[in-house]
């Protein structure tokens, strides 16, 4: 069965009926005439301008969120005594690793609910938590929108792909917190040291989930100040119990009640404060 002649049109791979033929030299000459005529009439110029206008007019609109940066400052709180009965604890060292930190659009921040963050600090920042002066710590990268909570760690992250938590870049001491304090009741003195590792409970999770902070991000130019108060962490430590150990230097170990009280303070009862400013 014979087929009618077809000319290929690669728009959609279909064949369309063609007309009877002419020799190739005539075709070339005719094609050249068509091209010359088109150029003479500047059709291509008009079409180009129309195309440009359409493209520009469409590209001038947005598609929702925009990228932005927020300056990050971290600060501690000037040392002040923690008083429990006759005992007075004075922190002499509090070096803390803060981060990674993610700011989320949801109120109930959870790793599953915050797969896309509004802002992030994907590493840690180490600071002297006894220095009340704000320290510039770079910038947070993010997208516009409303922040309603945050997820963060203290220098350790437990990735879904690692069997245990790992110290993250920026945690200079390799610990969540290195703290030391002098304790006295006026007649007797001793020293306390704590090397604290605050670890997420499960892989893919965070040490602190859902810390509340609210701010609407519109564009770059905001500043976030995160302030820690390590003295508040020590308020949960039973100082009298430490004194009862009757040691000149008390080292807090992860299995001790005092150590856990610090962890609870860092992750629950004395969270950092978040202050947003323009």
């Amino acid at each position: 069965m014979s087929q009618p002649p077809y000319a290929f049109t690669p728009v959609n791979g279909e064949l369309s009926p063609a007309r009877p033929t002419k020799p190739w030299p005539q075709m070339a000459a005719a094609l050249a005439r068509v091209c010359r005529a088109a150029v003479a009439r500047q059709r291509h110029t008009v079409a180009g301008i129309m195309l440009l206008c359409l493209t520009v007019s469409s590209a001038c609109q947005d598609t929702g969120q925009t990228r932005l940066t927020v300056a990050l400052q971290v600060a501690g709180t000037a040392a002040r005594p923690v008083v429990q009965g006759p005992w007075q604890l004075q922190l002499t060292e509090a070096t803390v690793a803060l981060g990674p930190m993610y700011f989320c659009a949801t109120v109930a921040a959870d790793s599953d609910l915050c797969r896309a963050a509004q802002l992030e600090l994907p590493q840690a920042v180490t600071l002297n938590a006894l220095d009340a002066a704000p320290m510039d710590a770079g910038s947070l990268q993010g997208v516009s929108g409303t922040v309603q909570s945050t997820l963060f760690d203290y220098g350790f992250a437990w990735l879904l792909t690692t069997p245990r938590p790992i110290a993250v870049p920026g945690a200079e001491t390799g610990r969540s917190a290195v703290m030391a304090a002098d304790v006295t009741d006026g007649t007797r003195s001793f020293r306390v040291r704590a090397l604290v590792d605050v670890l997420p409970l499960v892989a893919g999770s965070f040490a602190v989930r859902g810390a509340r902070t609210t701010h609407t991000l519109v564009d770059s130019g905001d500043t976030l100040q995160v302030r820690l108060d390590p003295q508040l962490w020590w308020q949960g430590v039973d100082i009298a119990a430490l004194a009862a150990l009757d040691e000149a230097v008390v080292e807090l170990t992860p299995d001790s009640t005092a150590y856990n009280a610090l962890v609870i303070g860092m992750t629950s009862t004395a969270l950092p404060s978040f202050t947003w400013s323009r």
């Binding site: 009877p20 002419k22 005719a30 068509v34 469409s58 598609t63 896309a116 963050a117 516009s144 879904l160």
Partner: protein, 359 residues
Amino acid sequence: SEVGLVTRFDHITQRQRLIQAPQNEIWDERLDATIDAADIGGYLLVDWLATDYVRIFGGLRLDGLFYSIDNRLGNAIPATRPEDFIPGFSRTAFGVAGGPRGTLELLPLPWLQVFLSYGRGFRSPQANQLGEGESAPFTTVNSWEGGLAMRLGAEETLKLRLAAFRTSLSQDAVFDPQEATLERVGPSRRTGAVLHAHYAPWQWLVLAGSLTGARAILTEPPPATAEQPEPALEPGNLLPFVPPVVVRVDAALRGPLTQWRGHALTGHFGLGGQYLSARPLPYSEFSDPVFVVDARLSARWRLLELALDAYNLFNHRYAANEFVFVSDWNPGAVPSRLPARHIAAGPPLSLLASLRIYL
């Protein structure tokens, strides 16, 4: 008039797993579902030439759609809740969608046609998003199109068609590359125009081109979700991934090359180019424009045709698709949770030789 019945049955198995190189261990499962879907529809079409100058097409289509979803990973258990129930859900949903369509054609001159069309249709839902017994939330599509069609020249060598269109969707969806599925984003509207020209000045030459301009926007904010209680997209925002401008240009040549053994050897040459303007992406980004040229060269002698097709003729390096989403390509490092640009590379120059035998 015409009456018809249309049926379609789908059995779909969906699975998405995350693997870790180099051992390719499966470390997470995101999707494991089986979907059975059925669409049974009927239509009535009427073609009525009212006068010599007026022609009316009209019809009605009615569809019933049924879905049975077995999502074995649905109802997932959050890490903070006790594992006192079994993950997964099994649901069914049914719904009916009706859609009238009609076209009015006016033929005031032999070479001029004026037309106006309206159609009401639907877009079938994402089965995994349906709830038990939910009246399947068919996306209703209302489409209007009007314009002119002209046939010019002694032998109608030039055909022009200019049409403006406006399409409203009651619930649009955009591709979510993380889940590899479509996510609801709310009602949308597409407004634009199409200009199509077909020019055949000689029997051996056909030129065709089309220019489509479309403005696709959201008309209402997308529904809030647990992850995004305050949706980022707002009314008036451009719909992601819809190119505002599409241009297609084609040329085809055909003619006898020579005679061989008493039969003509006929040559064909086709060249086509497609331009996609910068496509809007989430987070106020735009993809790069894409321009790709394809070509075909063929020769036919009697019953045999040998063809060489070239796709992406100039071996242009381009992104066929661009996405913006959160990903983690370094599983040993702290992941970023900010969306990043990803591309799916377009195919390089591809040559395809084919031999056809016409019987």
